[in-house]
Amino acid sequence: MTTVTTMTARAQPSVPTAPRGGERSPLLSLRGVSRRFRTRRQETLALDAVSLDVQAHEFVCIVGPSGCGKSTLLGVAAGIDTAFDGEALFEGQPIRGMARERAVVFQEPALFPWLNVRANVEFGLKLRGLSSAARRAASDAQLALVGLERFDRAYVHELSGGMKQRVQLARALAAEPHVLLMDEPFAALDAQTRDELQLELQSVWERIGTTVLFVTHNVREAAILGDRVVVMSPSPGRIKSVLPVDLPRPRLPDDYRVADLAAQIRAELASDGEREPRYAI
């Protein structure tokens, strides 16, 4: 897939972003979520009373230094980690475990090696008992979306890192989740592939209007992708501030406004938190 096709495909955003701070009840709501890890040697407060609301159709990025609890937060939202204190609601219901409504794109390529690319993409649909014709139609669409239609019969070990992440994205999207939880999905990729996939993700998001919670520690990535950028600080893991982003899309990596915003996020990350934290959610 080339950048050019991506850009034309993105022409018209079909779904507007959610009104911020609107009256609607949020799709995903974390209220005072704390997560403590106890090991024999030490105790870590990975999340300290974190509160965050994500509205439907919103693209929220979480940035923060390594070990500040980003993955922990995503695990709570996904229902992978249920040993937390506080309240985690999804569509108004408490999160009790993993569910296909909350698809995850993991940092490591979590693909099934015994299945080819197409079968990986269709995995969630197979679990739901969809007919093979319906599965095929869905996987055709998703593979085209991520530009892998020619690799549908390849096995996982035959793919590059970037291709594996695209397959993960296609698999997650095929499951028709209500929210897409992404944990540094592009962190292991080279800069060029990363730029390409960021553009692709923007275009996919604008077309299907899904909700995304996206973890990264790349501030530029957050500036390109987010409607809001949540900045976290470590030990204990807290939300330091939330920056709204009002730049028009598509946002290109070399846009000066993106660069400005990235600098602002970086400054926010570096600030020592002396001043009152803005829990503007």
Binding site: R100, A103, W114, F123, L127, Y155, H157, R171
Partner: protein, 253 residues
């Protein structure tokens, strides 16, 4: 460089040629050291009389039954040990211990239990491979990346679906290795059992050759035993391993 078939074929031709020369020189008595022609004639004779085919059928039937049951038991045992910690601490140790026991040592007990019957010999075959199948089933389940289990969970897998669509296929590389090892133990146990046991089969045919003082026949039957072992290894396990390599890549060995 000529093709592999040619190179390998040439090697065996040379070996057979040397063998014929040594036999011709009569360094040892022909009653102790047979010539290739004699072995070949003994083979043809046993094929024509139908004895060899019958023995092969008996042996294979025992093997298929014993090995088949051992896979079912081994798999179940492996699942229990892998998913229940207390079973691992207790049964796991027993399985490891029994695996180191040469399975032919089960024969006296099997004869006391089942008498001189098919069941006794199948029991020995079963004991030969069950434990290595169980050990690799456990290893295969334990080696499954938790990440894949989580991925399936977030795609909506129920507990049953997790076993059916993730654990079972995920343990295939380890199971292929375990079943290959189990097969070779089962095959050895069967031959040992048949040798010690008066009943039809390849091992029994070896005994017949000894009783007839027919070194040609003994050699011929041994060659058949080797051929069966190699054929199963190549045709069944060789293909299974190639399939695993195609899917998993070389990472899975």
């Amino acid at each position: 460089m000529p093709s592999k078939a040619l190179r390998v074929g040439a090697f065996y031709l040379v070996v057979i040629g040397l063998w014929a020369l040594v036999a011709r020189a009569e360094v040892w008595s022909p009653f102790l050291f047979p010539a290739p022609q004699g072995v070949w004639r003994a083979l043809v004779r046993n094929v024509e009389s139908g004895l060899l085919l019958e023995a092969l059928q008996f042996s294979m039937l025992r093997l298929v039954v014993g090995y088949g049951i051992s896979i079912a038991i081994g798999l179940a045992l492996g699942f229990v040990i892998a998913s229940w910690r207390y079973a691992d601490e207790t049964l796991g140790g027993v399985v490891l211990g029994l695996q180191s026991l040469p399975s032919i040592t089960w024969l006296p007990m099997a004869v006391l239990w089942f008498g001189l019957s098919e069941r006794a010999i199948i029991f020995v075959v079963l004991m030969g491979s069950t434990f290595s199948v169980a050990i690799s089933a456990r290893a295969g389940i334990r080696a499954l990346p938790p990440l894949l289990v989580r991925a399936a969970g977030t795609l909506g897998a129920t507990r049953w679906q997790l076993y059916r669509y993730v654990v079972l296929p995920g343990m295939i590389p380890a199971m292929v290795q375990g079943m290959k090892q189990g097969w070779s133990f089962a095959w050895r146990s069967l031959m040992a059992g048949e040798l010690l046991f008066v009943s039809l089969g390849l091992g029994h045919l070896l005994n017949v050759g000894r009783d007839l003082n027919d070194i040609n026949m003994v050699f011929a039957i041994m060659l058949v035993i080797v051929a069966v072992g190699v054929a199963v290894d190549r045709l069944i396990f060789g293909r299974a391993e190639a399939w695993v390599r195609e899917r998993w890549g070389y990472a899975a060995g």
